[in-house]
């Protein structure tokens, strides 16, 4: 048996130097480790920044509803409430729409519709959020406030969530703009999930005489629930952290109101809105703590998303498949 060392001694060659390889490996290793450094920096900086406020209010900060920078009272509840309500509503609006659109694109649309439609959805995803905000602020919110909201109030006004005075910029408008932002994400993620279903299952259902919808329901949707949940979580993660589009339509009030037609605020929009005004240390520290809370919430939703989509899996190697 000829091993590599034997070949080398036969050829009387010096073994190639490994110095270059080792240095290169070390360099790339350092770069890969940067993601951990970044994660640590993120956590450390937010903790450091919010130290004052953590010490003063502790975690009770999260359930205090009084936010009054004037007299040094800081409670995060209005921001957390606004974030959860607008994201949850946004997801409720976006999920059925995106699922139906994904079903149409993957199971029903002819090829000449599918390609351009997918391209357009990508375009919607590529529109910067500040532009969505601009449009939301000057076009969407005033229109919603003038037409659909009064109708909603007329129909369901006895419910406190649809009661009170109607404002264009409000929590519900924020939910709608958030829905518009996350629809492309959920649609394309669920398309991927549906695409992963092998065609043989569709064919089996067709062979049994199933109609188009029955094929979709039995062969495609049934096994895709995990993936759909993951896609929804991914969308939710985006919704929770959306800043610019929300800040321009949410109204910016830090008072919790039961009505969806009342202005509110979210964690991300609150930070963006008040950070430059925060001149004293305590105020700034409280805003850092909002950032910390936002980071924790998005980490949890993203972990859930990954558990269900399995997106962390390695890309398949060509040569090894």
């Amino acid at each position: 048996m000829m091993n590599a060392a034997a070949v080398q001694s036969n050829l009387r060659l010096a073994p190639p130097s490994r110095a270059g390889d080792n240095a290169f490996k070390l360099l790339t290793w350092c770069m890969a480790m940067m993601v951990f450094v970044m994660a640590l920096l993120l956590g450390w900086e937010l903790f450091r920044g919010s130290e004052l406020s953590l010490k003063r209010f502790g975690w009770g900060f999260l359930i205090q509803s009084d936010w009054n920078p004037g007299n040094g009272q800081f409670g995060a509840l209005p921001f957390i409430f606004g974030t959860l309500v607008s994201s949850a509503l946004g997801l409720m609006i976006a999920l059925p729409l995106s699922l139906a659109a994904a079903i149409y694109l993957s199971e029903m649309a002819p090829g000449w519709v599918r390609r351009p439609a997918e391209y357009l959805i990508e375009m919607l995803a590529a529109i910067p959020s500040v532009i969505l905000g601009l449009w939301g602020m000057y076009v969407m919110a005033p229109w919603l406030g003038a037409h659909p909201y009064p109708l909603l109030q007329k129909a369901f006004g006895y419910l406190p969530v649809f009661g009170g005075r109607i404002y264009g910029p409000c929590i519900l408008s924020a939910a709608v703009i958030v829905a518009i932002m996350i629809v492309p994400i959920i649609t394309s993620m669920s398309r991927e999930v549906f695409r992963a279903v092998p065609d043989s299952r569709r064919e089996a259902a067709l062979a049994l005489g199933a109609t188009r919808w029955e094929v979709t329901r039995l062969a495609v949707l049934k096994g895709s629930m995990r993936g759909i949940f993951g896609a929804a979580m991914l969308g939710l993660g985006r919704a929770l952290g959306e800043t610019m589009a929300v800040i321009m339509v949410v109204g910016g009030s830090t008072v919790i109101s039961p009505s969806l037609f009342a202005p509110g605020c979210t964690l991300a929009s609150g930070i963006a809105n008040e950070f430059t005004e925060a001149v004293d240390d305590m105020y700034r520290s409280a805003l850092f703590e909002l950032g910390l809370a936002l980071l924790l919430v998005t980490i949890v939703t993203n972990i859930l998303a990954h558990l269900f989509i399995g997106a962390v899996s390695a890309p398949k190697h060509d040569g090894q498949a």
């Binding site: 890969a32 995106s98 659109a101 952290g241 610019m244 430059t276 993203n302 962390v312 390695a314 890309p315």
Partner: protein, 284 residues
């Protein structure tokens, strides 16, 4: 089978198909409305002056966003300088050297970082750079965008490198080429097109970011002459103008938005052309 029941099944199927079709239309409706309003309200204000002049003080009509347009390019260039070396080499480590367990951890962390709201990066870079440097700067803004880019580029690079057939690597090693040379000259070169596409997609993404720039690059109504000065950027300028009470600024916000959208759309169209044939899943 009972013919009436069959009719009902077919009707249900047709109803669901129609419903799904309508939903697909509703999903695309905002895109159409946004583009329509951008053109309607912005097109008349986009002219040569707008693209080549500095903003005018409040009260004077006219002026443009030249500094913001250039500022956006500067910021994205800084982000590329920071994000691409780290991202590409990190991706090389994952694909060429890493162990499965460490790779999993790196991928997982990058995906979590990817999901981190950009406003959070804004305040973190504020604390790390702006406070010690005692002022907002182009450098801080570029760093914030670069940090957002790193996980995007790592993932894209790894994906592209995975598509390079192993026999290329083996052939290089069989010729006695050191691994680092084979990675640089053969593996990376083969995957070049895909990696560039991934980097450009990341650029398109950060170019429209506003939130991380609010407190890091701040804004500037004039040209900035050094990277340690605050710098204007298109998204930030749009935001400032949009929420201002002045009609002329609101008008310019729409014009700026139209320019930004055209940039992003033309850019992503270019990326698609470039990506054709590179097997890039991101551009399918």
């Amino acid at each position: 089978m009972n013919p009436r029941r069959n009719m009902r099944r077919k009707a249900a199927s047709a109803a669901v198909s129609t419903f799904c079709f309508l939903c697909a239309l509703i999903v695309l409706l905002p895109l159409a409305l946004i583009l329509f309003h951008l053109v309607r309200l912005g097109a008349s204000s986009v002219d040569w002056n707008f693209l080549t002049h500095l903003p005018r003080p409040v009260g004077e009509t006219g002026g443009g966003m030249a500094n913001a347009i250039v500022g956006t390019f500067v910021l994205v260039a800084l982000a590329v300088l920071i994000g691409v070396p780290v991202g590409v080499l990190g991706g090389v480590y994952l694909s060429e050297f890493g162990s499965p367990r460490l790779n999993w951890a790196v991928r997982f962390t990058s995906d979590i970082l990817n999901g981190t709201p950009s406003i959070v990066w804004g305040i973190v870079v504020y604390g790390l750079v702006v406070v010690p440097m005692k002022g907002a700067s182009a450098f801080a803004g570029g760093l914030a965008l670069g940090l957002i880019m790193i996980p995007l580029v790592i993932r894209a690079t790894e994906q592209m490198l995975a598509q390079v057939p192993n026999h290329c690597r083996e052939a290089a090693l069989a010729l006695g080429i050191p691994k680092w040379k084979s990675v640089l000259h053969i593996v990376l070169k083969t995957a070049r097109k895909g990696i560039i596409t991934g980097v450009l997609l990341a650029c398109a993404r950060v170019a429209g970011e506003t939130a991380p720039l609010l407190f890091t690059a701040s804004g500037n109504q004039f040209w900035s002459h050094s990277l340690s000065e605050p710098i204007a950027s298109l998204p930030r300028q749009i935001y400032t103008y949009a929420i201002s009470p002045y009609d002329d600024w609101n008008r310019q916000a729409w014009a700026g938005a139209l320019v930004l959208v055209l940039f992003t759309l033309v850019f992503s169209a270019l990326i698609r052309v470039l990506a054709r044939g590179s097997n890039n899943p991101a551009a399918k």
